[in-house]
Homo-oligomer: 89 residues x 2
């Protein structure tokens, strides 16, 4: 069982109302000087061996379904063994 | 301007309806064998120098406000220079 992590963030030129709300809330609650952008993190457990083909599939899923590439960027990386073990379930 | 990344994930023992929905959608749309858990990623730009005190503040903000530690775990790490540059805005 291999774990792949997909991170999706709003593009820099795109407004990020969630992030703006968090930025404002942090400032009001005693944490000024922090500018936040909020995105999503997907931890994906891939059944079987993580072949290049499987990784390409995950990439395709990220591109087509997990991220809206009009307004978001995404990165795909394989989690270290340690992380995958830690999160085992 | 330093960038700190806070990642928030549902705890392993907690149900993750969002992740379950994504897992089901991926399977239906031609990507079987992927089990997804969905969390949040915050990219935080810290005004001024990233001293230990500032980093401790971000940690406190993550603990108290960004994550619900009853049901979520969080990690805080400083982004590499390269990443911070890449995302500059």
């Amino acid at each position: 069982m291999a774990r792949v992590v997909v991170e999706v963030m709003p593009k820099p030129e795109i407004l990020d109302p969630q992030g703006k709300a968090v930025t404002g809330a942090l400032a009001r609650l005693g944490f000024p000087g922090l500018t936040v952008r909020q995105g999503k993190r997907f931890e994906i457990d891939v059944d079987g061996d993580l072949t290049d083909e499987r990784l390409a599939e995950v990439n395709e899923a990220a591109e087509k379904l997990l991220a809206n590439t009009v307004i978001e960027t995404y990165t795909v990386h394989v989690a270290d063994e340690a992380q995958a073990d830690e999160g085992d379930r």
